[in-house]
Symmetry: C2
Subunit: 309 residues, 2 copies
């Protein structure tokens, strides 16, 4: 069983979808990653920052899921990062209405002594300089470093981002971001170019169209589970990443075959995340539900064909 | 080994993609379906219509692939159906530039005696009245009837289309068409509603995002193979349908497990179709290439996970 360190935002989100609207609710990449990874019983710690307006009960909720929150700094005089977005009618695009960085603007992550020996490091979507600072605080290279990022950093801090990309084993980005980062339209070619920037493994997330895992010339595909209801896609990518690294940390096995299982688990966890607003479904998710859905993933994808040559 | 009857267009296509442009080349749903199904060594016949301008050598090409073309009527004084389209830069949408129905406008399909006892019937995308006329000419219901159609018929001839849909076992449409036909955004709900219209099996094609097969509460997903180069998507959906029904006809097995294999074969054949303009790749495709790609499909999708509950 590996020790997992997560760096990522803890935030308030206000979300509007065609199915409803929320006030400020618990959100943030670090929150979703932590909640998702918690289902694998791994020892995990979260590094983040919140303001004095952040309710202690939310941190307790994370601790109840065995996420160590001692690395979540609280800046009493500051306000918690706030994001607000509105999804279009088919949930595949969204407009950001508000981004108040607040305490995130001066976030200076500190890796506590208890996690400087982590085996698995998940760098949630953040300023690349923050991600790099965490990497530098860990003296012995972890067994696996996973980076999530987004087009915003490609547009604004590409040099710093490329430096971080050069230091990680796995990058998770969506299809448009893979195209932007590589300048290649074909995702196969995009992954080849991104390999050359550093990461041995490239995960391309395609939302309701699943996720691709690339390693050298090998490709594995995990579909998204077709659902009757999709309520709110917020956090699905982070939940995927949390399931991915949580499973790898719990099995302490980074073979390609195990990575296949990890993307299936990532897709599995993400399929729950989207069924309710925000973190609601993730906070009330039981092991037997995950196992039941795993069976559905097998039925959805597994077939028997004899190769004749 | 079943006997397969195909009804579908045989046409001239002029295609423009970001990678090039063709003059009038061989095209048509019937052509692609026939070429794709031919790889399974099944006895197949094609019902269609062409004009006096249609080269005998194209028909010979189909016969060389063991497609019986005696049902392709030639109207000497008429001209062959002509379609011209232009794809956008990422190949996922296209504009129709020209649709000259020509001899197709008065197409009156005649099922020859040799195929009135067919076991498998593939109704390619055509006016629903033409599709219905073929169904009515076959006295003993085939083992399996597959219908392909498109939004154009939903917009213009919905009543006739619904009548045909009520008489088939399998319908293949794309995701947008499934939503239009059912009025449901969720593809799971869309398939449930379409089941109630008649077809026991619903195949939803999502282009580069694969295809879903629905039957009662069961769902199976076949991804598209990630490719380095996609040259021309024309005919991919028809090639998919031809691979699907060709495999089923060759195995004479319509169990759900065999249908899973059939959608994998459909996706396999379609992955070749898009690699060159028009039918070029399909005319020069060998069995060992299909088998090699089948292995890639297995690597892409198959995994081992132990279920704990």
């Amino acid at each position: 069983m590996g020790k997992l360190l997560i760096v990522g935002t803890v935030a308030f989100d206000a979300i509007e979808t065609p199915f409803g609207k929320t006030d400020k609710i618990l959100g943030g990449a670090g929150t979703y990653i932590g909640l998702s990874a918690s289902h694998f019983g791994v020892e995990s710690g979260l590094i983040s920052v919140v303001g004095g307006d952040f309710p202690e009960e939310y941190l307790q909720m994370l601790r109840d899921k065995n996420v160590d929150t001692s690395g979540v700094e609280m800046i009493k005089e500051g306000k918690t990062f706030f994001w607000s977005g509105k999804y279009d009618y088919n949930l595949d695009t969204r407009d950001t209405l508000v981004t108040d960085l607040n305490v995130l603007a001066d976030f200076n992550p500190v890796v506590s002594e208890n996690f400087t020996d982590c085996d698995f490091l998940m760098l949630g979507n953040l300023h690349p300089a923050v991600q790099m600072s965490v990497i530098k605080q860990i003296p012995k290279r972890p067994k696996l470093v996973v980076l999530d990022t987004m087009n915003f950093w490609m547009d604004n801090t590409m040099d710093e981002l490329l430096e971080v990309i050069g230091k990680v084993d796995v990058i998770t980005i969506n299809d448009e971001e893979a195209r932007q980062l590589s300048g290649e339209y074909s995702l196969v070619k995009a992954a080849q170019k991104i390999h050359k920037m550093g990461p041995e493994y490239v995960v391309i997330k395609k939302g309701e169209n699943g996720a691709l895992l690339f390693h050298d010339s090998e490709i594995f595909f995990a579909p998204a589970l077709p659902l009757e209801e999709i309520f709110d896609p917020t956090g699905a990518g982070d939940t995927f990443a949390g399931g991915f690294i949580g499973y790898l940390a719990s099995t302490h096995d980074i073979s390609f075959d195990n990575m296949k299982r990890a993307v299936i688990y990532g897709s599995n966890l993400a399929s729950f995340c989207v069924e309710r607003f925000g973190t609601e479904r993730m906070l009330n998710l039981e092991q037997k539900e995950i196992q039941k859905r795993l069976k559905q993933f097998k039925q959805l994808t597994q077939f028997e064909i004899e190769l004749t040559q």
